[in-house]
């Protein structure tokens, strides 16, 4: 055994000496995602998208002449498992940590990375947040080594309201119906804040229990009583489906503006009930057809399905990382994460939806958003139904951008 190790290390050394020009160690990127249990479906989408784009980066030569190694860790759905796996990833040599499917986990990972970097100056790791949309991740909890490549509540709500207002479907009376936790409260606050700018009144605001309500009819009655034209909601999963179904069952004539209507299964479950409702998301397959069609087909040929929900924006975030990696020189032990952080702040990537970039002030991605409507006329149908998403308005990255939160006090190195 000892002899074999010796022989192996000698061989490795010989290789390393012979190939110093080609770079020493492959860059390791760790995906710490929910890959098992009840919330695994979203985690697996992130995994598909990350694997797809890492494959593209490696086809284009990888980093420092070596293919990038993607390490996968299962955070078991919660912050405790994530804290464990972040430690494991760092001790396995990962320089970049990717995660997206839950803000609770994101809150843990970003703090773990911050503390690790404080204790191990000169040996930093980077956290790329692919989808934790809670405002405080780029607010009170923002720090230099956290980068968010997905939109957040402010971007979602403001682009949604802008798009609906321009399309003339917003109406004068808006009802804010949200889940009673940080995400729902963020959505509600942003809806109320936009009222003066867009000239509507928020007739009522409701915060309800998260994923506990089976019968939404009392809430629908309140919408009816308030005489709302539009309901703006950050609800997801069952809370969104049951609310829409209950409204449709009561014969209520309101339009829903949503953030997560494109979650796989939603359109399949809601069917015609979802028709005419709106969504603001960073991707629509009918925008920029000449580029997007190629991306759609290529993605399908690799993963077996068209990109949807969080997958496109994850791919775009990885494109941004790819551009940043091009600007970084590999060092002897792989990669200096501080260099990559600087490069990421200056990176821009051309995606099928337009140009995306990273804002240096709070490390929130600035990306185009597409306001879209559920319609039978869509080219790409969702969940094998006759419905899909038709783009109503493409909001360019600089128009979708929202101000930096005052609570973000980022300490920059040096």
């Amino acid at each position: 055994m000892a002899l074999r190790t010796f022989a192996r290390s000698t061989a490795a050394m010989a290789l390393a000496i012979g190939a110093t020009a080609a770079g020493a160690e492959p860059l390791k990127i760790a995906l710490v995602e929910t890959l098992s249990g009840p919330q695994a479906s979203t985690g697996l989408l992130y995994r598909d998208a990350v694997k797809y784009q890492i494959g593209k980066i490696n086809d284009a030569g990888g980093f420092g002449g070596e293919p990038i190694e993607l390490l996968e860790y299962d955070n078991q759905g919660g912050p405790v498992g994530a804290a464990d796996r972040v430690r494991a990833a760092i001790s396995d040599g990962a320089d970049v940590i990717l995660q997206g499917s839950s803000s609770a986990v994101a809150g843990q990972v970003t703090e773990d990375v911050r503390k690790y970097n404080l204790r191990n100056a000169g040996n930093e790791v980077l956290y790329i947040n692919l989808g934790g949309e809670a405002m405080e991740l780029t607010g009170a909890k923002c720090h230099y080594y956290h980068f968010r490549t997905s939109p957040n509540a402010a971007i979602r709500v403001n682009t949604l309201l802008d798009g609906m207002s321009e399309a003339g479907v917003l109406g004068g009376k808006v009802y804010a119906m949200n889940q009673n936790y940080s995400w729902g409260i963020d959505v509600q606050d942003n809806t109320v804040a936009a009222a003066d700018r867009l000239g509507f009144t928020v007739v009522e605001q409701t915060l309800h229990d998260v994923n506990k309500i089976q019968d939404f009819s009392p809430y629908v009655q309140r919408i009816q009583a308030a005489g709302a034209d539009t309901v703006i909601t950050g609800n997801w999963s069952n809370d969104l489906l049951l609310l829409m179904k209950s409204a449709s069952g009561a014969g209520l004539d309101v339009r829903f503006g949503t953030a997560f209507l494109d979650q796989p299964g939603n359109i399949g479950n809601a069917g015609a009930v979802a028709e005419g409702h709106f969504l603001s998301a960073p991707f629509n397959p009918e925008v920029n057809q000449d580029q997007t069609a190629g991306f759609m087909e290529d993605y399908k040929s690799v993963t077996g399905h068209y990109p949807s929900y969080v997958e496109p924006v994850t791919v775009f975030g990885m494109m941004l990382l790819q551009e940043a990696l091009k600007a970084v020189e590999p060092t002897e032990d792989g990669l200096n994460a501080a260099d990559l952080a600087v490069a990421l702040e200056n990176a821009t990537a051309n995606t099928p939806m337009g140009t995306i970039s990273m804002r240096a002030a709070d490390h929130q991605a600035v990306l185009p958003m597409i306001v879209q409507e559920v319609s039978r006329d869509a080219v790409y149908k969702a969940d094998n139904t006759e419905f899909g998403f038709v783009p109503i308005k493409v909001i360019a990255a600089r128009d979708a951008e929202q101000p930096v939160q005052a609570s973000c006090k980022m300490k920059r190195p040096g």
């Binding site: 494991a88 803000s103 609770a104 994101a106 809150g107 703090e111 503390k115 991740l137 940080s182 995400w183």
Partner: protein
């Protein structure tokens, strides 16, 4: 049983030497195992010794975790509460909340008791997401372990020793408690609460006290957890944390003293290792629980203790031989089952379906061989191994039974 103290000493020595023996990742697992062991022991006191099945122990674990994280932020690891003493805060809040919750829930017994504990835990969980100031909202409350007493508490080894000292201390205290008169009456509460009342004991006060002590140790475990990850998030109050401790304790054996601790440690280790190897580790965990409940209802440790206690006329060597033979046959069956499950999981995965085109079924790579899904071979290997293993176990069992009959 003269070798018991020796065994104990050897285990403690091994635990102390662990940081120099295993990798960082395994040491991390060891910290989790210790915390799970202490949490399960706290649950075991209530469920195993006092016979009260609580379905809401996550509440006291979570209360301890949040108390510790807030204390960590308030004191900064200095002054009255230096970092190593922070679990005391978790214990104190656990004790107080346990007294309150215990007062209500121990008014009833059996199923009603379980329902009340479940309801109280869910109440706290539902409240937690609304009280952002206390529970930190979706992103949780985070903190920073400060150096104290000349120890940095930055490295994993420091955290490991902190957890180890607290866990051993608490398990020691629980052992001593079980030897006190109060600890003996606890067993009476489980066996026959009515008779205890006729003897003049106040069973409600007794139940409340036991509940509070159990909650106190759960709180200490929660505090250790939030010190380990330097944060607390309201997902620790979710019901699956409560059910996990029930499963762990029962797998270990809830009625023997160290049963819950070993169950907690073993199942945490199992999850830690398998979750990176396979996506369906939760299925295996469930299968293990069902099998343990069906064939070893006393739990792993409970069964072991029982076997050692009732050594029959036949020699130890022979019964050990039969057990080893059974385990070997079971391993064959398990290999077959694992092969089948893993093969099916890959066969049904979306990645595989992406590669399937008209009439073309690519081979599936599993255990460093490529298997064609349409051929008989992989299915025969899986089913064959499984069937062979089961058949062998049945044969061994029959032989052992025959021999016992012949001797009788």
């Amino acid at each position: 049983m003269k070798f018991a103290p020796l065994l104990l000493l050897a285990t403690v020595a091994l635990l102390i030497a662990l940081p120099w023996l295993v990798s960082g990742s395994m040491l991390n697992a060891a910290v989790q195992m210790l915390i799970a062991a202490l949490f399960a022991m706290a649950f075991g006191l209530l469920c195993g010794q006092a016979g009260m099945l609580s379905f809401g122990h996550a509440a006291y674990f979570g209360v301890g975790a949040f108390a510790a994280v807030h204390a960590m932020n308030a004191f900064g690891g200095a002054g009255l509460l230096p970092t190593p003493l922070l679990p005391l805060v978790g214990g104190a809040t656990g004790l107080i909340s346990g007294l309150v919750a215990g007062y209500f829930s121990t008014k009833r017994t059996g199923v009603y008791f379980a329902m009340i504990t479940l309801a109280l835990a869910e109440l706290l969980h539902a409240l937690a997401s609304h009280l952002k100031a206390v529970f930190g909202g979706e992103a949780g409350v985070s903190s920073f372990r400060m150096p104290a007493w000349g120890i940095g508490f930055g490295s994993l080894t420091d955290v490991y020793f902190l957890t180890l000292v607290w866990t051993l201390l608490c398990i020691g205290l629980l052992y001593l408690f079980s030897k006190t008169p109060l600890g003996r009456i606890t067993l009476g509460l489980r066996e026959n609460a009515h008779r205890l009342r006729f003897l003049g004991y106040n069973t409600h006060a007794l139940g409340t006290l036991i509940f509070a002590i159990s909650a106190m140790f759960a709180g200490i475990a929660g505090a250790l957890q939030s010190m380990n990850i330097e944060a607390a998030n309201y997902v620790v109050l979710e019901s699956h944390i409560s059910t996990a401790v029930v499963l762990n304790s029962f797998i270990g054996g809830v009625r023997v003293f160290l049963g819950p601790a070993i169950g907690g440690a073993v199942m945490t280790f199992f999850g830690y290792v398998t979750s990176d190897l396979t996506r369906v580790w939760l299925l295996y965990q469930g299968i293990i629980f069902v099998l343990v409940m069906m064939f070893l209802p006393r739990g792993l440790v409970g069964e072991l203790v029982e076997r050692l206690r009732h050594r029959s006329g036949q020699g130890v060597a022979r019964s050990l031989g039969a057990t080893l033979l059974r385990l070997l046959c079971l391993a064959v069956a398990a290999a077959g089952a694992v092969f089948l499950i893993e093969f099916l999981q890959r066969f049904l995965s979306s990645e595989y379906r992406a590669g399937v085109s008209e009439g073309n079924w690519p081979a599936i790579s599993l255990f460093s061989y490529d298997w064609a899904p349409l051929s008989v071979l992989p299915w025969a290997v899986g089913l064959g191994l499984f069937g062979l293993g089961i058949a062998l176990v049945v044969t061994v069992n029959r032989r052992v039974a025959d021999r016992q009959e012949a001797q009788a």
